[in-house]
Assembly symmetry: C2
Homo-oligomer: 657 residues x 2
């Protein structure tokens, strides 16, 4: 019977075991060199030998100007009122910039500082070839001369080994006499995806299929770190096929990345294959996300090849490569490991973490007012967008149970600080018009980070000072007013401006063709009709409550009122699967699932903005876009959107009320 | 007659003129799209279309574990003491991780949480295929289910246009239904070097030849910024040949970079070619280094192609590309311009700058104690190593005459802060053993920045708190003691440690074969012998003074005593050119110029280190290396070096004396 439970070992133990095995196999060192031509393709390669200057640069004393080579001492005493004349040929010779200085000369007088004379003492009409030059100022030795070795002196250190070549480095190496460079050869990495459920991007999809893209991400990472990745075809969960492929790859490659399928047992396949074809060092590491990592050595014909069994979940896969592949490639190439830029920040909410694991938490980083905040993103190991959105990583080390809200943490940045400081946070309810806004902001050097936590969640984020803007469409059931009653309740005393973004249509998702003939909200009380609701605190639920009240419909009489979903799409999906007949939501979600849509109401989606940000530079381009016909038009052409009130200031709350 | 003087215009005027002309030609916008396969080669490409999710990910409700699909409500009431049994097939179905959830189910129970039973109620030996499962805890809806759209919801924004693709982005795009991507096509850039004096790297060299590497640096820059560079062969200074090549390139490329030769008139060639084949917009820009930049448009068969005349000096060339090419490629690709990370720092010395120019000053950045210092590097436009060594750029804007020592400046970083914080500064006299030390420090995550300002210059840098270490070999002519008398004079009260680095041999550089039969220092008074001296404050000059005094030789009786050179190599070069017969210096410099060498004295080269740094983490690896046999051996095998006293503490000055 297969093992179901893994015994995870701590990350540093796993790293140590792997390194020791590589040391024993003679593989914990640079892999080898190759000589390449010194041209633009050398960029990013790592020097395996020191570049000592072979020749000086300049390799001779060179004129730095178009002018005349002279002996400085011959010019002593020359004055505006007492010029000195020098005969060309013997004590003055014309040089173009870059020409070698004659041995007898030690200075150059720029051509614009001489008077060119012919033999008869008149001004010559060829300033470069006169008989005599007349000068009215002395020059000091070595003026306007580029001395030999000014840039580089033969034998000096120019570039150290282990250096990753940049454009100017190539110039320096060429300038000191190189036309080839000895660089570390690129480690060859086999990337092998396995799993019967895998399909290629673009293949037709059925339920249960997984689009295989881990191999693309891993190959791109490997190439970016200086390796040379080869992606293999997807292999189904067939023990012998996978084993054959692994053993064959061990002969040709320096490293094998074997990506486990997600179905039961595929990871056990990996570990058994490693066990049978070499040595299994580690199976399971106490790191999240990542867990079922396998480390081993495959042996073939006396050659040892390290193998890393990479978990199939995409975040686990990418982080496993960060943790194990990047440093190994660095070692093989002889360069230093990458050091991410690290900044202190305040974590926005409590995070529980298993004390036994090192956790790599993805965070969004916000510069909000005078605070630097790290907001945890989805922790799911299947949520690749958590890495796409991440501004940084917070490592919660083993032995720590988690983080308290407000705790100081260290964030390894994945974006530049400049980019982060130009990021506008919008937290709360999400709308597609915010995505469009983000597109229009990009050319204005602004990034928009939108975090979907529902309208009320956005108001609470404002209260805690964690966002520049909250997006909200909260209809107050008693007053029929949008947002303001909730602001008064939760944000008393905050100086705040409420600006309308859009009006948008809410309506009912219906099965294709509307088989139950649902015509209005009143149909929700029909006994043959079931619905699905949104979670408490969401704007859509409040909208439903308001209209049910208007129609004097009791929630209890609505079949499915207590069935809660957390997003428009989740609600639509329930309708698509036939588990409910209808659900209230926005039109866009009906398109996503190819449902019919019955438009019912227009609601107002507002931006809530503290006054301290209203006047700042950061939001200026945003306010300009709300007036920009191109942006308005882009929103207006989406079905279900009304931009007539866009940019209207609904309220200015002074904060002293 | 050719123009000799340029009328430089301000940088922003030049940029505006260029942009306006490109706008009029319809070229100030993205150049166009191409569709590429979604694979690892898409890295670094810029999206020209927004990636909206085509499908949700997961595209179905998927089991997150190996386990049994159930209806959560069927598990209500299950307790340790009151288990519930569910029949497999109807209300419980086994799923592998990733399998689709049946429509009727809304939760998964992990396999390790069930008891598998056969029909007779006994434990089944196939936990994945029992007849009945028994559970002892209830589950909540959607537990252990990856809901459809957990990662991405169809129609949502996944990646904005203008985004430069990273590895994880490829995963996200594949996961939401893409197998191809629309990206900006790479702008084609012709890089054309001109100049009769140019030779290729590796070609034999004679005086006056220039090794052409600007085209390599420019091509590497262009490729790094997302363009596709083509390097042309060197063209001699032949007006018609250059013009023919430019006009031909205008038909095939999006941008032409025409690199001027350094000889007289070659830059005028460029401007005249642009004038004759299109429109000359700018000739000469008030920016240093850079000056003679040319901007224009070449017109051929109705197609307009921008052309940039790039100055031939390598620093000017690289910075011209930074200023004009990078933003243009950014515009054409539809991505944001790069934003360098900028930090505040204190400039270490007064810098004069022409008020009419924007100056791009290269600086070394040092974290010394609690100060962040920016030390100006060579300002020569021919000194490519100033860009290799530069940690950052300080822009001195027009209208400012320069900077005062200690003034606060803003530095655009070229290296990461982490790297800079791990940098050890050694200022003062330079020695090749410091280059070797730098090599040995690299694997210890330390960078050594060595700045050569002479021994006394190093002591003054310590005094101003601008370095971690000073390198000095100052012999006191009166006492015959090294360094300590100078420390007592210039650094009274500083807590300081003096540690010996090496002993090294000083001697006389002699013409090959020693034609004048120079045998000792006494020969310097021979009437047929001339020498060359080093500058005041240099250790080598003090060494000469000491030994002349010992020999009772008056400086006046030494022919050439007043002829000063600033480096060992410059002095050796005077000997090599025959302008002097000998000069005192270190052995390595004689090798660089293929001279004979007469060894005379061993001198002590010390490291002077303030106590505050002696105990810090930064210098720890350095102290370890001074004891490391591998490092000692690497120095020892160099001719003229003695490591027997390496690491010996010569003095500990308490600072209270």
């Amino acid at each position: 019977m297969k093992k179901i439970y893994l015994a995870d070992i701590p990350l540093e133990d796993a790293q140590k075991r792997f390194q020791t095995a590589l040391e024993e196999a003679g593989l914990w060192q640079t892999l080898g060199a190759e000589q390449i031509p010194l041209d633009e393709n050398a960029i990013g390669r790592v020097l395996i030998e020191t570049v000592w200057a072979k020749i000086s640069s300049p390799h001779y004393h060179a004129s730095a100007m178009d002018g005349f080579a002279v002996r400085a001492e011959d010019t002593h005493g020359a004055l505006e009122t007492a010029p000195i004349s020098l005969s060309c040929g013997s004590v003055a010779v014309y040089l173009d910039t870059g020409d070698p200085l004659p041995d007898w000369a030690d200075a150059v007088i720029p051509i614009e500082n001489i008077e060119p004379l012919s033999a008869d003492g008149n001004i010559s009409d060829d300033p470069r070839h006169p008989q005599i030059i007349r000068i009215r100022a002395a020059v000091s030795p070595w003026s306007h001369v580029r001395e030999m070795g000014e840039d580089m002196v033969a034998t000096q250190l120019v570039l150290p080994f282990g250096h990753r070549l940049r454009p100017v480095d190539l110039g320096a190496a060429a300038g000191c006499g190189y036309d080839k460079l000895d660089v570390a050869r690129r480690p060859k990495v086999a990337v092998i995806p396995t799993g019967t459920e895998l399909v290629y991007p673009g293949d037709p999809l059925k339920e249960g299929d997984i689009i295989e893209y881990n191999s693309i991400v891993l190959a791109a990472q490997v190439n970016g770190w200086g390796g040379a990745a080869t992606r293999f075809e997807n292999i189904p969960d067939d023990f012998e096929k996978i084993k054959t492929q692994v053993v064959q790859a061990a002969g040709e490659f320096d490293l094998i990345l074997l990506i486990a399928g997600s179905s039961a047992g595929s990871e056990d396949y990996s570990s058994q294959i490693v066990e049978q074809s070499g040595e299994l060092l580690v199976h399971g590491i106490a790191v999240r996300p990542g867990h079922p990592v396998i480390l081993g050595i495959v042996k073939k014909d006396g050659k040892s090849t390290p193998i890393i069994g990479v978990p199939g979940y995409p975040v686990s896969a990418a982080l496993t490569a960060d943790i194990f592949v990047e440093p190994l490639l660095g070692k093989w190439l002889g360069r230093s490991p990458f050091h991410p830029h690290t900044i202190p920040a305040e974590i926005t909410r409590k995070v529980n973490s298993r004390a036994g694991d090192d956790e790599y938490l993805r965070v969004a980083v916000g510069y909000i007012g005078d605070k630097t905040l790290a907001a945890p993103l989805s922790r799911g190991s299947g949520v690749i967008t958590s890495l796409v959105r991440a501004d940084g990583l917070v490592i919660i080390p083993r032995g720590i149970q988690g983080l308290q809200a407000g705790e100081q943490v260290s964030v390894q940045l994945l974006r530049s600080i400049e980019e982060l400081k130009n990021t506008i946070f919008v937290i709360g309810s999400h709308d597609i018009s915010l995505d469009l806004l983000s597109q229009f902001l990009a050319p204005c050097q602004r990034r928009l980070a939108s975090v979907n936590v529902g309208s009320l969640g956005g108001i609470m984020a404002l209260k805690r000072g964690e966002t520049h803007i909250a997006g909200a469409h909260l209809l107050h059931p008693e007053s029929g007013e949008y947002n303001l009653p909730y602001i008064q309740e939760h944000l008393p005393g905050m100086a705040l401006r409420v600006v309308t973004l859009v009006g948008r249509t809410q309506g009912l998702f219906l099965a294709k063709g509307n088989p139950k003939k649902i015509q209005s909200l009143e149909d929700l009380i029909r006994k043959d009709i079931s619905t699905v609701n949104r979670q408490r605190g969401s704007g859509t639920r409040l909208l439903l409550d308001f209209h049910l009240k208007q129609l004097d419909i009791q929630p209890e009489s609505v079949n499915g009122y207590d069935h809660e979903e957390y997003t428009h799409l989740a609600a639509a999906a329930v309708v698509a699967s036939g588990r409910a007949d209808c659900a209230l939501g926005i039109e866009a979600a009906s398109y996503a699932l190819d449902l019919d849509f019955l438009p019912l109401f227009t609601e107002r989606f507002d931006l809530l903005i503290p006054e301290e940000f209203v006047l700042g530079e950061l939001l200026k381009p945003l306010f300009e876009l709300l007036e920009d016909p191109r942006f308005r038009n882009a929103v207006d052409t989406r079905p279900g959107y009304d931009v007539s009130e866009m940019g209207q200031v609904v309220a200015v709350l002074s904060g002293t009320e």
